[in-house]
Amino acid sequence: MNALDLARWQFGITTVYHFLFVPLTIGTSMLTAVMQTAWFRTGDEKWLKATKFFGKLFLINFALGVVTGIVQEFQFGMAWSDYSRFVGDIFGAPLAVEALASFFLESTFLGLWIFGWDRLPRGLHLATIWAAAFGTMLSAYFILAANSFMQHPDGYVINPVTKRAELTSFGAVLTQNTTVATFAHVISSAFLVSGVAIVGVSLWLIMKGKSVDAMRSTLKLGAIVAIVAGLLVMYTGDVQAKIMVKQQPMKMAAAEAVYKTAENVPFSLVTVGSLDGSEAYWALDIPGLTSFLATGSWTGPESTVQGINDLQAEYEKKFGPGNYAPYVPLAFWAFRAMIGLGGLGVLFAIFALWITRKGRVPSKAWIRLMSSIALLVPLVGISAGWIFTEMGRQPWIVYGLMKTENGVSPTMSSFTVGLSLVVFTLLYGALAVIEVGLLVRAVKIGPPETVELMDADDANNGQTLTFSY
């Protein structure tokens, strides 16, 4: 493998890994804030237990999200220096604003929340988790604005002297429809993932007979969030798909493996094709659905979906010779994994509500097994969604402006990037094992039986710390 391939693997591995923690951070921080608010408003101790318990899980997860996030900001310059030079005038701004506006907010207020239980008045302490949760969402907004520029460049000109892209409208970068639709889709997916995670953990503990009262409430909360988020994921996904058809028709064609431009295009649930994906042998289809998803019409001229071959010919004319299609089997299957696994997550939430209705406690081993792995289903789904988004954009790093192969650092040897790829992969693998081990322990221990809280006056007078590292 050459330096380019290794750099791409490194970016893929470190980004997918980082993004395992991101949706859980976004969703769980806010849901923990909701639980604490419920305790603050009602004084019911079950919500305090739930807050402490899910807060603990959230923080174990957050630790890895933070440290793997540093790599993300650094590797644009380290491994993709020509990309950084080309788009830095635009891409750097949301990254810097993200750090200044949201990373400070999340990290500072989480520190206050973790250690501030007995240091701050209860209302103020509650405000800290809301501030941190708001920070995580704000962070998502800025990084998705940066990513949306790569999907659909807007608000820029190419400087004729330097040949670099220059920002002309920061407002366009932040508010173009690609950014807004992507943000809505990613945030609702994050809540779907977190809702399912909370349902899975709550159901497991209900079946274990631990803190049943609190876990019934959190199961309901998680399930409602997952179901509502699931509907929003569908809606926002549909909006995003229609934008994508206009802005990146090749990506949609690859997602559906549509080779020839046609009307009334079916949606294939399963396709068996040649290995390079250029030919389909057999498929199980729903007639017209692809056309409907892409255009809003089932049949007729307005249901026309452009095919890969026709787009390829068009792009060759526009950009010169080259392959302008992404790797079709990956786009095709990642697209299906995203939709299918997300849907399964919602079904699990409904199922969990049903089997625990009116105080029922399920006892079957397979249900317990399902509850313990439920989280993985939408989590793999949301990862598949990102793999589709990024791989579907190939061969471009910035759609229509710069190819991925032209963005890599020219001075970076394959040894250098190969070394860092091995180091990150091994380190991340080891940390994953440790993190999963701690999460499993935290769930096994379950919510605290009793929670003692000191008030701020006692704490400041030198009593024992309720929390320390």
Binding site: I70, F104, S107, T108, L431, I434, R441, Y469
Partner: protein, 356 residues
């Protein structure tokens, strides 16, 4: 404002971000380095780590903001620097990863249930603090002294390797930041703890601070004589560095911990100001080809981007400073080992593991 002025403003703002980083994560690194030496038992070690607990993550964001601001304001500097210093940055990243995770995870398991758990994380905290404390000095020394840069395809590219960066001058710079941060951390610990830790930290600050003073003067003079582009200004800042450090060590000796911390924080600020003063108007000079030198002007991004970012920075930085300072106020109280309940116990030990 003109593009030239905006570029200078951003050079200054990036220096400000590095000041924040050296002051805040500087003592973080110092505390991490001192952890195995200053904490004699679990209660003490947990006290030491807990002084950083609520703040280390917020402190590290200064680095992310400095990185992001360099990307946003000087993309060409960001690209050449980060791709050129690839392996050094890889080491720093690995260090920061294991260190951050270690803070969060070390007290999850107890000494009885998992005998090696805390020892391993303590090693991670030490290595993860030691390496960046050394390497930031190496990196900045190389930036100020210049590294081999050549024009390739219209871009200024680094033509050396990791060992190019490990030259005697840069290694001396690394030892200086290592010593400064370690002393700064000891002074912070003396300010934030009670009892034996406080006494030990106070003593260590005096000893390490003295050694550091010798190294820092040697490095400062070398830099002043060989690498300063603005000798008149930089010599003034160098005097301020020395005065602040003398003040820090003097106050530490007298047991005036608050003043000692303020003075050592001021030293960190003056050190960054000194380096940036020597550097200006360059951001990354070439030691081999003057045409490849990156300057404040030729590496700066567009006027529009710099204007937008200036507004963002002017509005948000004071807000950040207010709430981050408030955190330090909330957690102003000194910690002592007696406040750590059940220090050997891990918060995620299962019941049967503890009784066994």
């Amino acid at each position: 404002m003109t593009h030239d002025q905006l570029a200078i403003i951003w050079f200054v703002l990036i220096a400000v971000l590095w000041c924040g980083y050296f002051v805040l994560e500087g003592f973080d690194f110092g505390v991490g380095i001192l952890l195995p030496f200053i904490g004699k038992n679990e209660a003490e070690r947990r006290t030491v780590v807990s002084t950083l607990g609520p703040v280390w993550d917020g402190n590290e964001v200064w680095l992310l903001t400095a990185g992001g601001a360099t990307f946003a304001a000087f993309s060409l500097w960001y690209a050449t620097l980060f791709s050129g210093f690839y392996l050094a940055l890889l080491l720093i990243l690995v260090a920061l990863i294991i260190r951050g995770v270690a803070f969060e995870f070390r007290s999850k398991r107890g000494t009885a249930a998992a005998p090696n758990w805390r020892r391993n994380w303590d090693a991670a905290i030490f290595v993860g603090s030691f390496l960046p404390a050394l390497l930031w000095g190496v990196a900045f020394a190389n930036i100020v002294a210049g590294v081999p840069l050549e024009m390739q395809n219209g871009n200024s590219e680094f033509t050396g390797n990791l060992f190019t960066l490990l030259n005697p001058y840069a290694l001396l710079g690394g030892l200086v930041t290592l010593g400064l941060f370690t002393t700064h951390g000891a002074i912070f610990l003396a300010l934030k703890t009670e009892g034996d830790i406080r006494t030990r930290a106070n003593k260590l600050a005096g000893q390490i601070g003295l050694v550091t003073a010798v190294l820092a003067v040697a490095f400062g003079l070398w830099t002043q004589l060989a690498h300063s582009n603005n000798t008149a200004a930089s010599v003034v800042v160098l005097v301020l560095v020395v005065l602040a450090w003398v003040g820090a060590l003097g106050a530490n000796r007298m047991g005036r911990e608050g003043w000692a911390f303020i003075a050592s924080a001021a030293t960190m600020v003056f050190v960054v100001v000194f380096l940036f003063t020597c550097l200006y108007p360059n951001v990354m000079p070439s030691s081999t080809n003057a045409d490849a030198t990156l300057t404040v002007q030729n590496a700066a991004n567009s006027q529009y981007t710099l204007t937008i970012m200036t507004w963002v920075a002017v509005i948000l930085t004071p807000v950040v400073l207010v709430y981050q300072s408030w955190t330090y106020w909330v957690f102003r109280r000194r910690l002592s080992p007696s406040q750590i309940p059940d220090p050997e116990h891990g918060s995620l030990d299962l019941p049967h593991e503890v009784s066994a």
